[in-house]
């Protein structure tokens, strides 16, 4: 396995999850993910530390996603959910989708880079070309906004208990 293949395999899921949330449609996210890794394989992974490489990768993903949205291929308003989710969870999931869609673009982007891709603050700052302080404040603002919108659903959810999860992993990865 070459370095590029290893790099792609390590970050494929994170890129797909991020794009899935940004562009909405799974099919488009899959196409864009392929495009991201096509560019990576053409350009080669840059000589940088791990943080720099991930930031570079997600900058490509982010730019492709923004171009995709700018080209008029708008995001669908909501995400459809499979039968794997239980109904109570579905309610929160749909509300969460709407709430994330309602965030300002940059705040949403910072939040998704953190929560779906698991990027660190430094990586988010490099990927989205924002100062580190701006990343902190946007992330906080996004969480506060989501918390305000989803307060009731989160309170209901809290009754089931809370788990300490790292960002950027899929639910169930750590079971």
């Amino acid at each position: 396995m070459t370095d590029v293949e290893r790099f792609c395999a390590a970050h494929h899921d994170g890129v797909f999850r991020y794009l899935r949330r940004v562009v909405g449609a799974a099919e488009s996210a899959r196409d864009l993910t392929q495009e991201v890794f096509l560019r990576v394989s053409r350009a080669g992974v840059p000589e940088a530390n791990d943080i720099g490489q991930r930031a570079w990768l997600f900058r490509i993903a982010r730019n492709l996603a923004l171009n995709h949205l700018r080209d008029g291929r708008r995001r669908p308003p909501t995400v459809t959910f499979g039968s794997a989710a239980v109904p109570a969870t579905q309610e929160l999931a749909v509300a969460l989708s709407h709430a994330i869609d309602a965030l300002p673009d940059l705040d949403r982007d910072v939040f998704l880079l953190r929560e779906t891709a698991g990027l660190s603050y430094e990586e988010i700052a490099a990927a989205s070309e924002l100062p580190l302080e701006s990343v902190r404040s946007r992330l906080h603002r996004a969480r506060q906004a989501l918390r305000a919108t989803l307060g009731h659903s989160l309170a209901l959810r809290e009754q089931r208990g809370v788990r300490c999860l790292p960002a950027g992993t899929r639910d169930g990865d750590d079971r």
């Binding site: 999850r17 603050y121 969480r143 989160l154 959810r157 300490c164």
Partner: protein
């Protein structure tokens, strides 16, 4: 308060934070509530991802129930009968094989290697003996 909540953000996001600062932030009920909500949000986002990709990767089960066995058996029997009948109808007697004319080649003794004349003749005689025999 906002800066204290940002300390909590940094803490749950794996950033290095000042111990006293996080203690102060978590000593406030609002800080604790914020941390719990941030965890719940994270869990909800990750569940959301699981549900979404499930819907994508598992194409809506086309039919949850498999076809009944009698239907499968009937379909197989029908197709076998149909194939047999079609074979019977369309079968033609095989044409008689026409054997191509054959050519017999008789190998002639080669004169390239002449047989040498015998130098000694050994003659074997066989006589019936009463003493010999296997019985």
């Amino acid at each position: 308060m906002s800066s204290e909540l940002e300390i909590i953000d940094a803490f749950i996001d794996g950033q290095r934070v000042d111990g006293d600062a996080i203690k102060r932030a978590l000593s406030d009920p609002e800080g604790r509530a914020y941390m719990i909500d941030a965890w719940l949000l994270r869990e909800a986002v990750q569940e959301n991802e699981t549900g979404a990709s499930y819907a994508v990767t598992v194409p809506a089960a086309r039919s949850a129930k498999p076809a009944p066995r009698w239907l499968v058996a009937a379909a197989i029997t029908g197709s076998l009968l149909g194939a047999y009948t079609t074979g019977r109808i369309t079968a033609r007697p095989a044409p008689l094989a026409v054997t191509p004319p054959t050519t017999t080649v008789v190998a002639q003794p080669s004169a390239a290697f002449p047989v040498p004349a015998a130098t000694r003749v050994i003659q074997l005689e066989f006589h019936a003996s009463n003493t010999s025999g296997g019985d």
